[in-house]
C-alpha cells in the first residue's frame, strides 16, 4: 500500500508554516519530504533524486505529515457507541466512548417495579418508591464510577497518550421500556437477591449496606495478603541488597496490595540483623543500622512498585533477640487490620456487579473460576487472576465476594467494552485498537 513518490503539485498546510504537529489535519499535505507512509519508510531513498537542487527544493515532494497524528484527529472526532453490550452471564449495558472527552460512559437502563398489593400502593402513595429509586441510582453510581482509569499505550505515545486517562462514568438511567434490567423490588419481605433473565430481584434491606457483615472477612484479607507476602525477606551477610527473586515477589505483593482500597492495612516492616560482629557497642550500632537499611530497602521497593495506599511503619530491630544464624538477616512484613475496621456488605451494589457482567467470587465449586476470571487474566495475567477471581477462596471485602470494595478486576468488563468498541466501531487508527492497546492505570 505504498504511496506515490512522484512529486505532486505543491500545496501548503492549512495552518501555514508555523503550524505545529498537533495542528495538522487529517491527511493534510505538507512540503519537504517524500510522501511515503509507514509501510514504505524502510524503502525510502536516502535523498531526493530528481532534478537539480534548486528545482528539487521548489518541487519538493509532499508528505502526509505524521499519519498517526492524522489518525488521532480522525479518532477523536467521533463518539463510539455500542448499545446492549452483552458480557458475562447477565451483563448488559450501553457503551459510549467519547475520546475527545477522555470519557467512557457505561449506561445501564433500568425499570423499577414495586408490589401492586395494598401495602405496595400505600408505599407508593407515601413516595417511598421515589426515595428508593433515587437512593438506588445514586448509591450505585457513587460506588461504581471513577474507581479506575484506562490508558492507551499505542505508539507513538506523543500522539496517543492524549487519550489518557480515560475515566469511567457509570450511569443508571430509569426508563419506562426497553430496559436492560427490571428491578423487581419487594420492600416488605426479606429474601435472597438475585439477577437472571434481565430481572434483578431485591428484597427488604438490600438497599442498605450491612455493617459488621461476616467478621471472618478481615482474617480472610490478612490470609490473602500473606499468601503473596514473601516475608521474611532474607539478606546476605552485611548486606541490605534485596535478591532478584525477592524483588519479584515484593513487586507482586505491592501490585496486589495497591489494588485494595478497603481495608487499608497497618503494615509493619521490621528489619533485623544477626549477632555476628555485634559484640561491641560499635558492632551493635552497625547491626542496628543494617537492620534499618534492610527495612528501608523493602519499604522503598514496595513504595516504588506502587504500594502507597496503606499505613506503613518501618522499624529497625537491630540484633534484639537475635541469634548468630543467617535467618536473622531479614526484614519481616506484617499486615494488621486498622483498629475498629469492620466489613460492610452492599447488596444492591453487588447485584449491580452481575448486571455489568461480573460473577460471584464466593461459593461455587472449590477452586472454580469466577465468570470474570478470563477477562481478569487477560487484563492482569494469570498470577493476579488466581488471587482475586477464584470462587470458594477465603472471605474478603471485594464487592463481588462479601464486602463493598469495588476492586480493579471489577472493571474488566468495562475495559473489554472499551477495547471492543474501539476495535469495531472506529475507523482509525490503522491497525485498529485492540486489547493490547488499552491498559488499566493502577
Amino acid at each position: 500500500m505504498g504511496r506515490s513518490m512522484t512529486p505532486p503539485p505543491f500545496q501548503l498546510m492549512g495552518g501555514g508554516e508555523g503550524a505545529g504537529e498537533g495542528n495538522a489535519g487529517d491527511g493534510e499535505l505538507v512540503k519537504g519530504a517524500p510522501q511515503w507512509g509507514k509501510e514504505d519508510a524502510s524503502s525510502a531513498p536516502s535523498g531526493p533524486s530528481w532534478g537539480n537542487p534548486i528545482q528539487a527544493k521548489a518541487m519538493a515532494p509532499i508528505q502526509r505529515k505524521n499519519p498517526d497524528e492524522a489518525d488521532y484527529k480522525k479518532f477523536i472526532a467521533k463518539t463510539y457507541t455500542w448499545n446492549n453490550f452483552a458480557t458475562g452471564l447477565n451483563g448488559k449495558f450501553d457503551v459510549v466512548y467519547a475520546p475527545a472527552k477522555n470519557l467512557l460512559d457505561i449506561n445501564v437502563k433500568v425499570r423499577f417495579q414495586f408490589p401492586w398489593s395494598l401495602q405496595g400502593m400505600l408505599y407508593r402513595a407515601q413516595g417511598k418508591d421515589d426515595v428508593y429509586r433515587a437512593n438506588y441510582i445514586s448509591g450505585i453510581e457513587r460506588a461504581w464510577s471513577n474507581r479506575y482509569n484506562f490508558r492507551n499505550v499505542r505508539a507513538p505515545q506523543k500522539v496517543w497518550s492524549r487519550l489518557n486517562p480515560t475515566t469511567v462514568q457509570v450511569n443508571v438511567e430509569e426508563v419506562d421500556k426497553n430496559e436492560h434490567f427490571l428491578i423487581d423490588v419487594d420492600p416488605f419481605n426479606t429474601g435472597r437477591a438475585q439477577v437472571g433473565g434481565g430481572v434483578t430481584k431485591m428484597y427488604k434491606g438490600d438497599e442498605n449496606p450491612q455493617p459488621k457483615f461476616n467478621p471472618a472477612t478481615g482474617q480472610g484479607e490478612l490470609t490473602r495478603f500473606n499468601r503473596v507476602n514473601p516475608s521474611p525477606v532474607l539478606f546476605g551477610a552485611n548486606s541490605a541488597e534485596i535478591s532478584a527473586g525477592d524483588k519479584s515477589q515484593l513487586t507482586f505483593l505491592a501490585t496486589y496490595a495497591k489494588r485494595i482500597n478497603n481495608p487499608r492495612f497497618d503494615i509493619t516492616i521490621a528489619g533485623h540483623s544477626n549477632t555476628v560482629g555485634g559484640g561491641t557497642a560499635a558492632g551493635a550500632q552497625r547491626n542496628q543500622q543494617l537492620s534499618q537499611q534492610r527495612a528501608a530497602a523493602v519499604n522503598q521497593h514496595l513504595q516504588n512498585a506502587g504500594m502507597t495506599n496503606h499505613n506503613v511503619t518501618v522499624k529497625a530491630e537491630g540484633q534484639n533477640g537475635a541469634g548468630a544464624g543467617a535467618a536473622w538477616r531479614k526484614a519481616t512484613i506484617t499486615p494488621k487490620l486498622p483498629a475498629g475496621w469492620q466489613n460492610m456488605q452492599a447488596t444492591s451494589e453487588h447485584e449491580f456487579g452481575h448486571m455489568v457482567g461480573l460473577g460471584d467470587e464466593y461459593g461455587g465449586a472449590a477452586g472454580a473460576n469466577a465468570t470474570h476470571y478470563g477477562l481478569t487474566q487477560k487484563a492482569f495475567g494469570k498470577k493476579y487472576a488466581d488471587q482475586v477471581a477464584k470462587r470458594g477462596d477465603t472471605d474478603y471485602a471485594s464487592i463481588m465476594e462479601g464486602g463493598d470494595d469495588v476492586r480493579i478486576q471489577h472493571y474488566v468488563t468495562f475495559w473489554d467494552a472499551l477495547c471492543q468498541v474501539t476495535t469495531s466501531k472506529a475507523q482509525a487508527p490503522t491497525p485498529r485498537f485492540g486489547h493490547n492497546d488499552w491498559k488499566f492505570i493502577g
Binding site: N90, T190, G191, R192, G196, G197, G363, A365, A368, G392
Partner: protein, 195 residues
C-alpha cells in the same frame, strides 16, 4: 415391547403415591407424635444421582442435607440461600402421617455460609399438615413431573437467589431434585409455608 411414554409416566406416578396410602394420610396432633428418630425403621438411601449432577456443584449444595430419610418420611425440602448470608436457610420434612419437622438456621450471621445448616432437627414436630395439605403437596409434585425430572434443574444464568432441594419418596426410593433459579411452581409451593 414398546411401552407408550404416558403409560410409563403413569406407572411412576402411581408408585410414587403408593408410599402414602389414604390411611396414612390421617394426621395426628403434634403432641401425640413421637420423635421420628425413635420411631423408625431402616433409613432409605437416596437414588444415586451423583453422576447426573454437575462436577462443579456449588459448595453449599455439596453440603446440603443428604442424611438418609426414615421409611416413614416421604418428603424433605431444603431452602438454601445462594448469597453469602445463610441465616434464612431452613429445611422441613414430612412423615406419612403429615407431621412436619422444621429446622431453621440458627441465625448466626457469622456462621460459615458454606454450611447451609448449623442446627439439628428438633425433637418434636413443628406442626401437622392436614389431609388436604398433603394432597396439595402430592399434586404439586405430580404436576411438576417430579418423578421423572432430571435431578438438577439449573437456570444457568441465575446469579444469587435461592436453591430449593426437594427429596421425596418415589417407587420406594428417595428421589432428589435440586432447583436453582427458574420459576417452577413446585419451588414456590413448598417455600410458601415458611416465607
Amino acid at each position: 415391547m414398546i411401552f407408550p411414554m404416558r403409560h410409563t409416566l403413569g406407572l411412576i406416578v402411581m408408585s410414587f403415591f403408593a408410599a402414602c396410602t389414604p390411611a396414612q394420610q390421617q394426621t395426628l396432633p403434634a403432641s401425640e407424635t413421637a420423635n421420628p428418630v425413635d420411631s423408625l425403621s431402616t433409613p432409605s438411601a437416596i437414588i444415586n444421582n451423583s453422576t447426573m449432577l454437575p462436577e462443579s456443584l456449588d459448595i453449599r449444595l455439596v453440603n446440603r442435607d443428604q442424611t438418609p430419610m426414615r421409611s416413614n418420611e416421604w418428603l424433605k425440602v431444603q431452602v438454601i440461600s445462594m448469597g453469602k448470608l445463610p441465616i434464612y436457610n431452613y429445611k422441613f420434612k414430612l412423615d406419612t402421617r403429615g407431621q412436619l419437622w422444621l429446622c431453621r438456621h440458627s441465625g448466626d450471621a457469622n456462621a460459615d455460609y458454606r454450611q447451609p445448616f448449623d442446627q439439628d432437627w428438633s425433637d418434636q414436630p413443628h406442626t401437622s399438615w392436614s389431609v388436604e395439605e398433603m394432597e396439595a403437596a402430592r399434586q404439586t409434585l405430580t404436576k411438576a413431573n417430579f418423578a421423572t425430572q432430571a435431578p438438577y434443574q439449573l437456570d444457568p444464568k441465575m446469579e444469587g437467589g435461592t436453591a430449593t432441594v426437594i427429596t421425596a419418596r418415589v417407587d420406594d426410593q428417595l428421589k432428589e431434585v435440586i432447583y436453582l433459579g427458574g420459576e417452577e411452581e413446585v419451588q414456590a409451593f413448598f417455600r410458601s409455608f415458611f416465607e
